[in-house]
Symmetry: C2
Subunit: 286 residues, 2 copies
């Protein structure tokens, strides 16, 4: 039975997890902490958390499960601090968007029988803007929640049971759990998550330079333009860490897209264009 | 008073116009024609049209206003045929996605006091898939409907009055009319419509090659991936004509996007990345 969960970072994801746990019937206490006190106050006012902790280490110490819901580098920092003070009666998990570095840190700092357990997680859910006030109990409904547990880890019975409990809670909030190797995870999300984001950023930044002087042109573009640039609103603060921790895979994906765009550009009047459309149609059909 | 309208081409757009005119209270008759007879039957069954014409010329001859709702090259073909048989008591208009060639053909073939009038139009509305069965009376609600009338055209009083009537009908179906020069139109839609489409096609075709073997990865990508590739389903048959009639402007836009993606790729770990995100954020904010 999980009686107490700490949520460190009550931005969009942390606040949504708190709201979703409540909506799913979780009856224990949820203690929250946030670097900026307004975010924690907002989460408290929304009943996503029951109380605000003075500091993250103290919060984790009083809880069986601690969720790190901060960007990737702050996650790595908190992992260092928490591994020094928590024991095998604790589980720490996270929501970081890249998993190779976090999973490697978990091997180094957690997941031996004497230490706290760490379960690296990544819910494929979000919004193009962050903040506790956008927190949503239904954010994870139908979404995939990836875990990159290393099969070599040796956990105490308590730690293994806490990890199983967290997986159950993730299912209870409506997410579909998929397990995947952490390196494969990062290669895969480079294609299906990071490439779409950097493409939307590039397109939006280009359009700002080319037609930004005439905001009425956005209406002309209609739904197609709105959709293709929605992710242009995504914050640098989150994507900086992703770009820095998955650089090689993202570089490769971007390079391939540049080549694909050049191929289309060179074939606007040839039958090759048909093949590109058919390939694209197939991706949407399957 | 408009008593009879011909819709030549009862695909998604033609059928939607018929449905929208009815929903807006248009009481005259609507005669439809489609190259494939199933499309016309479908539009008739949906009450988007009242009758099916045996051939497009005959249909136009019996109507005050004729809407060409076919791709760009068939539009240019029909313009040639119709200009030979219609007089100043007729107005022809269209929905073609590029306007420089169609507007030049209108100058050559229509819009003198002795000839039929032509009003080049372009509703910024559509779906990623076509077909009469997707016809939607609300497709134009809130959309922009562009016209590229040439101020040098000399029209008879009747023709001018028919053009004014069509503009009123377009407003009645919920669209916002904007007038723009045809060459400027094509440059502008290259940015806000054609570039987003070819970007989605390139991204979808690339993802088909890279992760198409594993359809479950699409779930991992979630809403962001779905949105960024939705237009990947768009048909080549429509976009071929756009690529062929707006080649230079589309080439320029694609080249600029390739350069922008390369710039992001080369700066994944530098402060330049922040500037790209801030520019993209600004595009979405304004």
């Amino acid at each position: 039975m999980i009686e107490r969960i700490a949520i460190l970072g009550t931005g969009l994801l942390g606040t949504s997890v708190g709201l979703a746990l409540r909506a799913a019937g979780f009856r224990g206490s949820i203690v929250g902490w946030n670097r900026g006190p307004e975010g924690a106050q907002q989460a408290l006012a929304m009943h996503a958390i029951d109380s605000i902790a003075g500091n993250p280490i103290e919060a984790a110490h009083t809880c069986q499960i601690t969720l790190l819901a901060v960007p990737i580098y702050p996650t790595l920092d908190l992992m260092e601090q928490l591994s020094a003070v928590l024991g095998p009666e604790h589980l720490v998990t996270d929501v970081g968007s890249t998993k190779a570095q976090i999973t490697a840190a978990a091997t180094r700092l957690f997941n031996t029988p004497e230490r706290a357990a760490f379960l690296p997680g990544h819910p494929m859910a979000g919004k193009e803007r962050g903040g506790a006030e956008l927190g949503d109990a239904n954010l994870f409904r139908g979404a995939v929640w990836l875990f990159t547990d290393d099969p070599a880890w040796q956990r105490s019975t308590t730690a293994a049971s806490l990890a199983a409990s967290w997986r159950e809670l993730v299912s209870a909030v409506g997410a579909r759990v998929i397990d995947i190797d952490s390196v494969r995870h990062d290669e895969m999300v480079a294609w299906v998550s990071h490439l779409p984001q950097f493409t939307a950023t590039a397109l939006s930044a280009l359009l700002e330079d080319e037609v930004g002087y005439a905001p009425e042109l956005k209406d002309v573009g209609g739904r197609a333009l709105r959709e293709m640039t929605r992710l242009g609103a995504s914050p640098y603060s989150m994507w900086r860490d992703i770009a820095s921790t998955n650089t090689v895979a993202v570089e490769r994906a971007l390079m391939k897209l540049e080549q694909r765009l050049a191929h289309i550009r060179e074939n606007l009047r040839t039958p090759e264009l048909r093949e590109e459309f058919e390939r694209a149609n197939k991706f949407r059909r399957d």
